[in-house]
């Protein structure tokens, strides 16, 4: 996921999916697309958001569409999963998160998963209590970073 919001030019249809804070971040891009008379749609994710509606909206889109999803990290992760399930590839979407991002760490001893804030260098495993050093070794399968033994 990227923190940089850049317009990927020349697409035939733009999709903007964001929470209320996120839509403000996307507004400069929406203005460019509006000014250029380019086809676009906006979906705003509110507190009473129904993921099924977003999922249906994403699934009916055509090839050549480009998705911008901007939301608080936890919501954004759900949006990204919905978009990938609908068929959006990495080349067809940009995801922009804000706020405090939570990540998962995979315990090298018990293989349990613990959740922590990104940037936190160490953390005790929720399952076995081992102090883990958070590495940059990321597993797509687990959606988690490998936690090594911090102190022997």
């Amino acid at each position: 996921m990227s923190g940089n919001i850049t317009l990927v030019p020349g697409k035939r249809h733009y999709l903007f999916c964001a929470d209320e804070e996120g839509i403000k971040l996307l507004q400069p891009l929406i203005d460019v697309v509006k000014d250029g008379n380019i086809s676009y749609e906006i979906q705003i994710v509110k507190d009473n958001w129904n993921p099924i509606l977003s999922s249906e909206w994403l699934r009916v889109q055509k090839m050549g569409s480009f998705l911008y999803a901007t939301a608080e990290w936890n919501v954004l992760k759900k949006l990204k999963q919905l978009a990938e399930d609908a068929g959006f590839s990495e080349e067809e979407a940009q995801y922009i998160g804000y706020g405090k991002e939570q990540i998962k760490v995979f315990c090298c001893r018990c293989h349990g998963i613990s959740v922590l804030e990104k940037g936190q260098p160490e953390r005790n495993c929720d399952h076995c209590g081992l102090l883990l050093e958070v590495s940059d070794h990321y597993s797509q399968l687990r959606d988690a970073f490998l936690g090594y033994v911090a102190k022997l």
């Binding site: 009916v60 055509k62 090839m63 050549g64 480009f66 609908a86 068929g87 959006f88 590839s89």
Partner: protein, 316 residues
Amino acid sequence: MLKEKTIPVYVKSIIQETPQVKRFTLAPVEETSLPAFSAGSHITTYIDGKERNYSLTNHPDTMDSYQIAIRLSETSTGGSLYWHHEVKVGDTVRVSYPRNHFPLSFKAKHHVFYAAGIGVTPFISMMLELKDQGSSFELHYAARSKELCAFYDFLQANFPHQSHFYFSKGNEAKRLQETTLLEHRIGTHVYFCGPDSFMTDLTEAAVRFDYPRSSIHHERFAPPRPKNAASFQAQLTRGEVIHVEKDQTFLDALLEAGIQAPFSCRVGRCGTCELKVFDGIVDHYDSFLSEEQKSAQNVILTCVSRAKSGKLVIDF
């Protein structure tokens, strides 16, 4: 020349699909079963001193025979002519192990096959597999008429809802339009197979309609032919200077010079023949290297690519 292990098979049956297309069923001579293959695979046949690649059209689970369909080419240099006029039921021929340079994407949510003429063949095994898996797919198939449309009855019987036909001859002539590409939903992967211009036009249209490159797949039956091919020289680092005639591939020039150059598909698809280039400008004709790799100008696929400069210096 490199020798690969081949399999002896006998011609079990021949079916006249259309006036130009014959379907051959090949069964094993020595074993009870043949090597397994995946959807989209092809075999190389070795007959009359000629090697030709043909897609396997049976279900990938089939182990007791290979089925290929061959169109009699107007410009045949011997391959299809021999298969159509010389090969009889009971004859023994040698074929390669199956290879797949045209696999189904496991990422696709929906597969769309675009075929013209005999280009339908790799899609038959793909559709049989996808139907078994319950996966989503459709076929757009262009031919001159129903009578000249290979596998028409088979497709109608097995994939009546997924098959769309475009016949260019007759009162109700309908042509396949590239704008059909605009209608495919997100997550679609498109597969093109047919004459060079058919694949080039559709690939360019898909790129123009913002399909990611990774969602576009195609297979060539024959190597692309450069319009204005010129002769050139290749200086090999081990010493030899190879002269490549304008109507000769670089690979053939290497092989004729007795050099054990690597190769497999001969149509610029698999990358087996890749060699490093130290100097000179390569004219790329393959569909294997990425645009970035082509721009770097430091490798060449000898089976199809040539020199833009009069000379290349090759690491070999």
